[in-house]
Symmetry: C2
Subunit: 226 residues, 2 copies
């Protein structure tokens, strides 16, 4: 595995191991420049993924978007897949961080409201990154594993909440693992389809403002509706 | 557009327009042979898609699976994408046919039970085809449109049912377009994840036998629970 692959690349900037450039050709080259270029390349790939599918843009497009040469791209990433994988990993990590940061409420209803909203926010904060992740998951086993890991984490979070609520009698008993997967699946399709498709256009939840309806269906499904 | 593209190819078998083979090289060649080869090629592509992503198999793999040469493949399809698109179109058409064939029940609960089961059956009847459809939808606008068309049809079917139920007072009023999309989204993720991932393994709805739970959540969401 290349040390420039997406897994190792965050912790060891390629500039550390590059031969020192000659003074004449790059007199002001510093580690900071390399990190900036790298970050511009990642941002360029992410921006391209907002409008296009991965096969529809090239390394040249990514380099051009970052204002650097094709050669500069290959100083930082092995190929297009490597940079796309890193965009996906960053997106998933940020999504999970947002998700984990939500504060539980005074009761299950309040907790659901906060949790559903943080899921929607986390998803919408990085639409291109989430989009690229789901696209790559079809063809790349590593990204597929990443997506399943994220979902497992989300399932685990909600299973804990629901199990606690059943134990304390806050909601009636139910098949927690199955219902959790179904409710999280509903929330995920809502996020995917309001960010990537026009399936909700013209409805009352056109642009991510359907959190109330989603929460209401969760409440009803769990028997904690009005 | 090539007349061998996926749209036109069902109705005009390539054999019709091919120059007649010389007697010496293919004395027994008949139109039926061409149709059989074509169908074997489609079946081979579908079977490959069950285990692999589209980039992970080649025209040679498809031809080998059908027991024909690469040249024979190109007598029937322009390229790998063309045959994959046709597999996707066939899968969506069969899925919709199954979905439309369900019989409405005596009340909304019975109708939901029948409709949800037919959706699950339709999906599971052609797991490789549905999988290929969703994969191609990321990169191919024509397949993306196909998927959205299928979903629109499903949304329309359920919106009609739910609107009728609200009108007759069988269930309380609700935001029909949004709730329909959320409930169908939940059902779709259930089908996708029990056929393509192991996210439900170890739960009580491991292998497509979660229709009862899905229906119960629909009932509760619509306020027609027990």
């Amino acid at each position: 595995m290349s040390t420039r692959g997406p897994i190792a690349s965050n912790s060891s900037a390629p500039a550390d191991t590059e031969p020192a450039p000659t003074r004449r050709r790059a007199p002001t080259r510093r580690r900071g420049d390399a990190a900036t270029t790298r970050s511009h390349l990642l941002e360029s790939a992410r921006a391209l993924a907002d409008a296009r599918s991965v096969p529809d843009f090239t390394v040249d497009d990514i380099a051009a978007g970052a204002g650097v040469s094709r050669a500069a791209f290959y100083m930082h990433f092995e190929n297009k897949l490597a940079i796309c994988e890193e965009v996906a990993q960053t997106a998933q990590a940020a999504f999970l961080a947002t998700l984990r940061s939500f504060e539980r409420g005074a009761d299950l209803r309040a907790t659901i409201r906060a949790g559903v909203q943080s899921y929607i926010d986390g998803y919408r904060n990085d639409r291109p990154g989430m989009r690229m992740t789901l696209e790559l998951a079809y063809a790349e086993p590593s990204v597929r594993d990443l997506v399943h890991e994220t979902r497992s984490t989300v399932y685990g979070m909600w299973q804990d909440e629901f199990s606690r609520a059943v134990e304390t009698g806050e909601c009636p008993p139910f098949d927690v693992p199955v219902v959790t997967r179904l409710l999280v699946g509903m929330l995920e399709t809502y996020c995917v389809r309001t960010t990537r498709t026009d399936e909700y256009v013209g409805t009352g939840a056109e642009d991510g403002d359907g959190a109330d309806v989603v929460c209401e269906l969760w409440f009803r499904s769990l028997g904690i509706g009005d």
